[in-house]
Each structure stands twice: as structure tokens, then as C-alpha cells.
Amino acid sequence: MFSTLDLSVIAPSLPFLWTGLQYSLKLTLVAMTGGIILGTFLALCRLSSSRVLAGAATAYVDLMRSIPLVMVILWFFLLIPLMTGNPVGAETSAMLTFTAFEAAYYSEIMRAGIQSVSRGQVAAGDALGLTYRQTMSYIVLPQAFRNMIPVLLTQTIILFQDTSLVYIIGAKDLLKAAEIAGKNYNRPIEMYIFVALCYFVLCISLSLVVKQLQKRVAIVR
């Protein structure tokens, strides 16, 4: 079977595949940044003493975590135009979806991170006269974030792989680009093998980075 592979179609498709990969990376970055910010906010809500805030945040996180991502992608794609009145396009829709969806997962990580900071640290911040917001931003969150960097990045690797799901709404990511290129040259197998390799190399390198970081960021106590 492999003798029939025609790898020569890959080189001319590279520029096109690159535009797909650029979108995949951009989507990953946007969803990671937005997801961590929104997730941290959700985590703070869940840990707050306000029952309303905690309940709302918990409901949101549980909802997102119990629906398959493919369905969320589809629903957002169909719902956003209905709610806003004008279509936003598959690419933007995917960014909003992934930010909203990943926030649920990042919030669980940040919640664990916040809880990993001892209550004594909070008491020390309080005793200095820092307000709740100051104690959180200068004392608790930096430590929580640092403790959780390896887990946050591991989640980001999963996120990067999951971005390939946007091809179902037609957003031109790496996988979609490979599909199009494969159809163009009538060589889908070669293209799919090549993008699989791309995903593999990128994810493996990222997890090596995570391992290195894990050694570096551990706080000396």
C-alpha cells in the first residue's frame, strides 16, 4: 500500500497547509488566553461566599463539561447568528466557542490552584491590610498560577488537538486545509498522514516544554 503513496503532493501544498496551521494556532492561543482569564474568574466565583455566584459558576462549569465539544461547536455556530442577528463566520464562532468551553476546564484547574495556596497566606495578606482583591491578585493567584502552569499547559495541548473539530463547521484549520488539499490532488491519505505527523510533532514538543517548565517553576519553600 505504501508503495502507492505519492508524497510529492505535500511540498506544493505546504503554503496552503500553513495558513490552516496558523488558524489552528491562533484559535488555540485565543481560547487559552480567554479560557484562563474567564476560568480564573469562574473559579473565584465558585470559591466565593456568595451562594448565587458560586451556584451560577458551578452550573456553567457542569453544563460545559457534560456536553460533547462537537455539539457545543455546532450549537454556538447556529445560535450566535440567531441571537446577534448576523452571522459571524465559522472562524470567529469557533474562537468564542472554544473560549467558553475551555474556560470550564481551566476554571477547575485554577480552583485547585487557588486551594493549593494555604489559608495562612490569605491570613497574612489580610493582616497586612490588603483588600480581598489585592490579596487575590498579589498573593494567591500568582502562586496558584505558578503551581498550575504544567497542568494548564497540558490542558492547552488537549485544546490544540481539539481545535481540529472545527472542521465540521467549515473553519479552515490545519485539518480542513489538509482535507481541501487532499481533494485537490486527489491524494487524501498522504495529506491526512502528513497533518497527523504535524499534530504529533507539535504536541510532543509542547509536552517536552511542559516537563522542562515543571522543573523550573517549582517554588522553593
Partner: protein, 242 residues
């Protein structure tokens, strides 16, 4: 300076503090002691509102701690506190630990805060450690930094919650020396500690607690000479016998 009247606190059914009343005047050094679980740490944490209490009243410099309209952060900024486990911020350098409160709460400039912080660091004998991180210091050094951090806020009084209990024995004295010096300078202090040598040296009064009650509130001479309650006598004989 600090006035407590009939302070009671309970966690559900469990009574932690019962009718605690005492007064700490300006410049006084009070040592609070008692068996573990007697509520002494809880009592001292009520003074700056780190622990809420259900009934009674505590005022610090005329400000009611438990009142809903009290700006707790503002009050806490004026009351220094030193913890059993130091609680320096591990992700900040020693200098940053000493300046964060000054900059964020007292709104001092970074230069001014650093200058004050380094002066205090010098005072506790740790000037050379300014650039290090808490994890690089010994327990005794960390606790001295923690005292300097509390002092950087120019507190009107200081609370110590078992400041030497988590230390290796050879480091206890370096911390106590700093505390004795502070006492001699006239700082108002409330110290939960089992260091009876420290109490004998600088305390004006000793408060003995048992099962959430203030059993004895006596001058140093009375407490060590003729403790009235049997419970205090037993306690003293246990910790002074060796």
C-alpha cells in the same frame, strides 16, 4: 489600646471562646498562654478580625472590630501580626515581602518603601538577605523578616501567634531577642507563647486560658508567684518542671 468585653465564639455546637474580657493599655506587653486547644490563638486572631466572633465587643484604638461598618483592611493595616508559620510570600523576594503592604496599602512610593524595608531588615540583622527568597532562609530568619514586615506598616500594636513554636530550638532565641527589643521600645504587644522566659523578662501581665475562658489575668509577679487557679498552677508546674 485593645479592649475586649465578653467575647464569645462558637463553631456550631462547639464553644471556642466564652466571655473573654481583658484590656491592653498602650505600651503594655501581654503574654497569653494555656494548654493547646484553649482558644488563645483564636482570641488573638479576633483582635484584628481574622476570626469572626458571635457576641461581645472588641475595640482597637477605639474602632470596633466586629461592627459591620468597620473598614477591616484599614484597621488591620494598623495592627501588626506575626504567625506561627511565618507566612512570608514565597513567590516574592525578601525586599518585596517587606514593601508590598507599604506600597499597596499605605501608598508609599517604591523607593520610600524599600528604604524603610531595608532599614527594618537591618534592624532584625538580615540586611544581607534582601535579594533572597523566603525559601532560602532558615525558619528563624524567616520569622525575623515576618516581624520586620509587620513593623513596616508602622503598627500601633503587634500580635504574635506562637511565633517560636514552629522553630528549631536553636533559632528560638534570635526571634525572642527581636521581640524583647520591641517590648523595651514600648511597643504594645499581645503574644501567644509558651516561652515563659520571655514572659518573665518583658511581660506586664499574663493571661492564662483554659477551655475558651480567661482563667487568670494577672500581673507577671502574681502569675508566677501565686497563681490563683488550680489549672494555671498545674500548667505552670508542667512547663517549668524541666
Amino acid at each position: 489600646m485593645i479592649e475586649m468585653s465578653n467575647v464569645s465564639k462558637h463553631y456550631g455546637q462547639f464553644q471556642v471562646l466564652t466571655d473573654c474580657s481583658t484590656t491592653v493599655s498602650k505600651g503594655e506587653v501581654i503574654v497569653v498562654c494555656g494548654p493547646s486547644g484553649s482558644g488563645k490563638s483564636t482570641l488573638i486572631k479576633c483582635v484584628n478580625g481574622l476570626e469572626p466572633f458571635q457576641s461581645g465587643k472588641i475595640t482597637v484604638d477605639g474602632v470596633s472590630v466586629g461592627a459591620p461598618e468597620t473598614d477591616l483592611p484599614k484597621l488591620r493595616a494598623r495592627v501588626g501580626m506575626v504567625f506561627q508559620n511565618f507566612e512570608l510570600f514565597p513567590h516574592m523576594s525578601i525586599t518585596e515581602n517587606l514593601t508590598i503592604g507599604q506600597i499597596k496599602v499605605l501608598k508609599r512610593s517604591a523607593e520610600e518603601a524599600t528604604e524603610i524595608g531595608l532599614k527594618l531588615l537591618d534592624r532584625v540583622g538580615l540586611k544581607a538577605q534582601a535579594g533572597k527568597f523566603p525559601g532560602q532562609l532558615s525558619g528563624g530568619q524567616q520569622q525575623r523578616v515576618a516581624i520586620a514586615r509587620a513593623l513596616s506598616m508602622n503598627p500601633i500594636c503587634m500580635l504574635f501567634d506562637e511565633p517560636t513554636s514552629a522553630l528549631d530550638p536553636e533559632m528560638v532565641n534570635e526571634v525572642l531577642d527581636v521581640m524583647v527589643e520591641l517590648a523595651h521600645e514600648g511597643m504594645t504587644m499581645m503574644c501567644v507563647t509558651h516561652e515563659m522566659g520571655f514572659a518573665r523578662k518583658v511581660a506586664d501581665r499574663v493571661i492564662f486560658m483554659d477551655q475558651g475562658r480567661i482563667v487568670e489575668d494577672a500581673t507577671k509577679a502574681d502569675f508566677f508567684g501565686t497563681p490563683r487557679s488550680e489549672r494555671a498552677q498545674q500548667f505552670l508546674s508542667k512547663i517549668l518542671s524541666h
